[in-house]
Symmetry: C2
Subunit: 239 residues, 2 copies
DNA sequence: CGGGGGGTTGATACATGTCAAGCGATGTGG
DNA sequence: CCACATCGCTTGACATGTATCAACCCCCCG
């Protein structure tokens, strides 16, 4: 049904709503280039909680930009245990780890109802040749991902669990702020288990740390909603 | 003295010896492109232990490829404490975190006598336009860096220190193997303190863990030389 | 309504951080 | 070239934080 040229316009809307403009920011594309870009963006059927976007070993085809929802990525240790490597929020790009060896090196699974835009990579590379500014943008997006990961490393390097927890929460907070969140509430889509796995602590410890922070008046817990009350103190704990 | 065109040939040699061919691998450049590439690579004076390659806030100008030696990169927490984010060995590329916002976000300091090649980034981007394969290579290099960092995250996510230690050692081992190391000896250029900081444990614990592994016959410690005796067991501990 | 997964909380053992002392290697200045 | 100072490393003792096991509750979903 979507074979008519007009359908491209649908995709274009899709693209814009999925935030390609935001994602690629600072996107320096002019109208024409943007249109070319829009043409290559594919929509994907919405995923429900637990659906996989890709798995370890899958052939690399596309980058994915999260339109709404959230995902987690994880690898398996040699022992076969799950090891969470990251959480991905609306507006962020996944799959860049796969460019090098042409296959994915982690599993990406939706934590809630989630929709992504697909950016076929060969098309992206071709377009890169025609539009130098796109090449710059892609470099920047990848650079940002590198910085994000290194920031995480910095986060996890702390000795005390309280610090890691504080840094984790602040990190989520900042990422949401960047996306235009107005209030101080984090709607965690991941389980305590995921958080603990990610931070390298037992999930009971996550629970206790949160409770402790609540006691100190730093935040308020309502199931998976964390309302941050005292961001300054949280920052002080983070170090 | 080096103003004659011939001097470019020196630089070319420099480039090759610094491993641009290796670094950019799979480098698909043909002779002409490689020559262009060589032209843009700059040599840098050797650094001695403690010299800085760049610091947080420095304007981003170049990527750097380590010709020989090793470096560590670290950031500062809000509290002003050092937080090691990575160790970089011969043949690896630094500085990619800075592309996005045009300034460096960490400090890079030599851990021993070290020499790097400088790859001025604007020149690299220009050349990228002329040589599409270079663009692919750069994408791949950045992708590899992303994967490296995510692998580290996976490493640090474990609860037991023994595991982290094992993963750390194996990681170094693998990186050296890739660079053609033949024996199983790690010549650590970083202090126990750096390792502890990086792994999020007290440096005394690093010391004890190593001693413990030595007791079990997994490795042999001679100051900063770690001779791996039983890599299988080490892998089993790593999980 | 029942079941199950996720979350909290408590008790206990153990691992790790911290403080402290001493050792060894390295480099510097006399 | 040696002596000394310094830094890095190891090892011990102790207190504390965290993992682990277990019981229970809550909420969501079927």
């Amino acid at each position: 049904m979507n074979t008519k040229p007009k359908s491209q316009y649908n995709e274009r809307s899709a693209c814009e709503s999925c935030g390609v403009r935001q994602l690629c920011l600072p996107v320096s594309l002019d109208g024409e280039a943007l249109s070319l870009m829009d043409d290559l963006v594919k929509r994907r059927a919405p995923m429900k909680k637990g659906d996989y976007l890709f798995r370890t070993g899958d052939k690399f085809k596309s980058l994915y930009a999260i339109q709404y929802g959230s995902m987690k990525s994880y690898g398996l240790t040699v022992g076969g245990k799950e090891q969470v490597t990251g959480f991905h929020l609306t507006g962020e790009v996944l799959g860049m780890d796969a460019i090098d060896e042409d296959e994915h090196h982690c599993n990406a699974v939706a934590l809630e109802k989630t929709e992504v835009c697909e950016l076929p990579f060969t098309a992206l590379e071709t377009l890169q040749n025609e539009v130098p500014s796109l090449q710059r943008d892609l470099n920047k997006i990848m650079s940002r991902e590198i910085r994000r990961d290194q920031h995480m490393l910095l986060m996890l390097g702390s000795t005390t669990v309280e610090q890691r927890m504080a840094r984790f929460l602040l990190n989520l907070y900042e990422r949401l702020q960047k996306r235009g969140a107005s209030d101080n509430t984090l709607n965690l889509s991941m389980t305590r288990q995921d958080i603990g796995n990610y931070l390298g602590v037992a999930f009971e410890t996550v629970s206790r740390q949160l409770a402790h922070m609540q006691d100190k008046g730093i935040l308020e817990i309502k199931n998976r909603n964390i309302h941050l009350l005292d961001i300054e103190t949280l920052g002080a704990i983070a170090g």
